[in-house]
Amino acid sequence: MRYLLLICTPEMDDEAQFDQDVVKMNDDYGAFMAEMGPRGVLQGGERLRPTVDATSVRVRDGEVLATDGPFAETKEQIGGYFLVDCADLDEAIEVASKIPGAKGGTIEVRPVWEMEM
């Protein structure tokens, strides 16, 4: 069973704070990967640039509309994701709870809609 774990965290706008936190964050994510890698649940995952670098695209009446920013302005934004393959929701919750971003942020666990072959 595959799940997409969306890491939703408050975005940092203070550059100094950001630099300081980033070292700690890299360590924390390193530890997470070190545990989950050998366990074989990770199928992919990336960190995303902040929403100031985001572009939202809509097609309306055949016209492509590209606008600056995320699709919704909220305090927490998706800062990264992992795609995992787990036995069931309980395992997905356990993996999600170990993502460093779960502390202070929220991990949204979304089951992948598997296509019937």
Partner: protein
């Protein structure tokens, strides 16, 4: 009711949950499990009058329901159904598997079902509804009536919950050791909520509401049977039994709410109190206090006092303080204030209530000004009491509470 009907009704109460749970386990299909269980009971009503009541009604019902499921899956042409049929006919019957590695020795199907119904990934309302539907066999219509929502709304809630269990792969099991301790409070909370929905009802279908308290007590009993080493499960059962024992005295002939101190204690059900105290004592002997045991201890203080005046308020105030250490909450503190007022005088209680008011955590909660008003009244500060009663009335309390508050308001405004 004839002997056979009675046997079927008893089997329904005692076996419904187990049969559904077993069928869900072997088919993985919640709807099919419910429908086939229903069919099995219909069949029992047909067969038992002629064949006699089987020695083991549960086994008869399970076998009948399972045969029906196999039958229906065979007739179903869908690919998924075929797969399940295969799983059912080729696997050894999974329901009674003593070596289930995940469940740490606990294999009762109903427990698996209960933990799945109460999974935190489901919305709370759905947990309650699903527990009632699958474990106690209450119909969607009955559940809708009990919770005062239209039947289609309740049906939708159940459908969505079952769909999420399937789509998000919520596991059908009792969580393993470390997770069990995290999940058990959620299960206990659903049972307690069920009980309260029946107990605190001031509106709705009275009969169905009473059923809810009965069902909650039965579920709590099941939990105690299935998890004999969990003192909090015993604590919950004790709490429910103690509350329920006082029910006959809670309302007067006109349906008005009677406050605890004015209740006719001879109407309390002695057997219920004794049993509650027994479970509480057994839980407390394990020396792992928890919120349900503490609340049961408070209920026991009330239930075992021969008169309201003999209530051990010092002990109750101490228990609320202990409860606050386990579950810090402003409402617990408000209750402590009431107990303290009884133990050490209204002024002592009022000081705590005033602190809570300043704190703001209970803003908009009518019981804060209502409590304040009662304490002010007892202190003879009638003008302030009247103002507080009016604040409480402005916060939309239940109809019975409105009548009580208005009575008190008249009292303090005419006495002054």
């Amino acid at each position: 009711m004839g002997e056979v009907e009675e046997a079927v009704a008893r089997a329904f109460r005692e076996e419904w949950g187990r049969v559904v749970a077993t069928l869900i386990r072997s088919t993985g299909d919640w709807d099919l499990a419910e429908e086939c269980t229903q069919d099995a009971f219909a069949r029992a009503l047909e067969r038992w009058p002629a064949d006699g009541v089987p020695r083991n009604p549960g086994a008869w019902l399970t076998t009948t329901a399972r045969n029906r499921a196999v039958d229906r899956l065979r007739r179903g042409a869908r690919g998924a159904a075929k797969e399940r049929e295969l799983a059912m006919t080729t696997d050894p019957p999974p329901p009674v598997d003593p070596d289930d590695d995940e469940d740490a020795g606990v294999t009762d199907e109903r427990l698996r079902l209960l933990f799945t119904c109460c999974h935190p990934a489901l919305p709370l309302e759905a947990r309650v509804a699903l527990t009632l539907r699958t474990l106690t066999g209450l119909s969607t219509e009955e559940i809708a009536r009990a919770f005062l929502v239209p039947e289609p709304t309740m049906a939708q809630r159940l459908v969505r919950a079952k769909r999420k269990i399937r789509h998000a792969a919520i596991p059908y099991r009792v969580p393993p050791g470390h997770q069990l301790q995290e999940r058990l409070p959620g299960v206990l909370a659903v049972v307690y909520l069920l009980f309260n929905a029946g107990y605190a009802a001031s509106t709705g279908d009275a009969l169905v509401r009473t059923d809810l308290t009965g069902e909650a007590i039965r579920l709590a009993r099941t939990l105690v049977d299935l998890m004999p080493d969990e003192p909090e499960a015993q604590g919950l059962l004790a709490l429910l039994l103690l509350h329920d024992a006082r029910r006959p005295a809670r309302t007067d002939a006109a349906g008005e709410l009677v406050p605890l101190e004015a209740q006719d204690r001879s109407q309390w059900v002695r057997a219920g109190i004794d049993e509650g105290v027994e479970f509480l004592d057994s839980a407390l002997r394990r020396h792992q206090p928890g919120p349900y045991q503490i609340q049961a201890a408070i209920a026991a203080c009330h239930a075992t006092a021969t008169t309201a005046a003999e209530t051990d308020w010092v002990q109750i105030a101490a228990l609320y303080a202990e409860l606050g250490r386990h579950v810090p909450s402003a409402t617990v503190e408000l209750n402590r204030a009431v107990a303290l007022a009884m133990a050490a005088g209204p002024a002592a209680g009022l000081a705590v209530v005033d602190r809570l008011e300043a704190d703001g955590a209970l803003d908009g909660y009518h019981l804060l000004p209502a409590t304040q008003a009662d304490l002010l009244r007892r202190l003879g500060r009638h003008d302030e009491a009247a103002a507080a009663y009016r604040r409480a009335l402005a916060l939309d309390p239940s109809a019975a509470e409105v009548r009580y508050l208005e009575r008190r308001l008249t009292e303090v405004t005419t006495d002054a």
